[in-house]
Amino acid sequence: MTTTSEKKKKTTDSGGKKRHYDVSFYHDWCKACGICMAFCPQEIILADKNGKPEITDPDRCVGCRFCELHCPDFAITVSERTPGRRKNDA
């Protein structure tokens, strides 16, 4: 179990570089309840035209996984972004 302060440390301690996360929404299972949008500490999850969540600025995600833990429909996956294998992947 990591506390908030540990998590904050974690996001920066890999050589001083910020860790990046990708959040994927499985829209087929999403019911647009709005929990992820309301509780996101960075307030980066926004509603698209159908009321379903989308992230336009994924670099600001701190990887707290609140949305993943509280999604009643198993529709959110947060994963740490791994660097691309080839240079031109980025």
Binding site: W29, K31, G34, I35, E68, C71, P72, F74, T77, S79
Partner: protein, 281 residues
Amino acid sequence: MVIPAQTLRHSFLRHNKKFPHVWCPGCGNGIVMAALLRAIYRLDVSKDDIVLASGIGCSGRMPTYLDFNTLHTTHGRALTFATGVKLARPSLNVVAIMGDGDATAIGGNHFIHAARRNLNLTAIIINNSIYGMTGGQYSPTTPFGARSTTSVYGHIEHDFSIAELAVTAGASFVARATVYHAELMDRLIEQAMRKRGFAVVEVISNCHVQYGRRNKLGGAVEMIRRFKEQAVTVSRAKRMSAEELEGKITIGVLKDRELPISTEEYKKVRQRARASRGGKV
């Protein structure tokens, strides 16, 4: 330990069931289901060694989506079926999933006596203060003055605390969480499943469709935000007066004690009976 939702989806959900599930958008039952799966994932036992029993109600739908040995039983009888399974096969991990009406009204008698008997079971009780599926009638946990379809002018009866009832009835382990505290919830469920003895986890959940709407508590987001404001941990609650605790929800482990377990005591009775007959079976 981080357990991605993807892992839970692929290893524990029944793939032949229709998803998304039947619960309303924002229903706490889905959050409880995910917490239960994370707890089971951490326990690291075979899927064949887990039995889930549920009664009737929204919570009763939960085992039908999950790929374990599951029983969807009659109203209030989740614990009786679970008792039968446990007595026949004491090695299995048996979890009964119930709602507040299911556990304390229709199955109230079964609940207190299962706690008194102290079988090695886990009971997860999702408390949303109302009968959600049948149309919003009041349940034993509907607060005084609250509105429901059967108490249109305000409820005239008083509610009781499920966790305190379980402590008094003699359960070995009693804990409480809310759906806002999802990580705490999965730790408590894991602890309850590891506990030898009757373990109860009460989860305060939101029914914004039947309860929140009639009592002007807002939608799922507003109700879950209210749980965050109302919750106080056990250690903090000890330092607070009764007036301060009014309207608060105490979360954490409320009771953890060692008591003799029914199946093991029964084994001793069998041994004593055999010994008294000169060791013959």
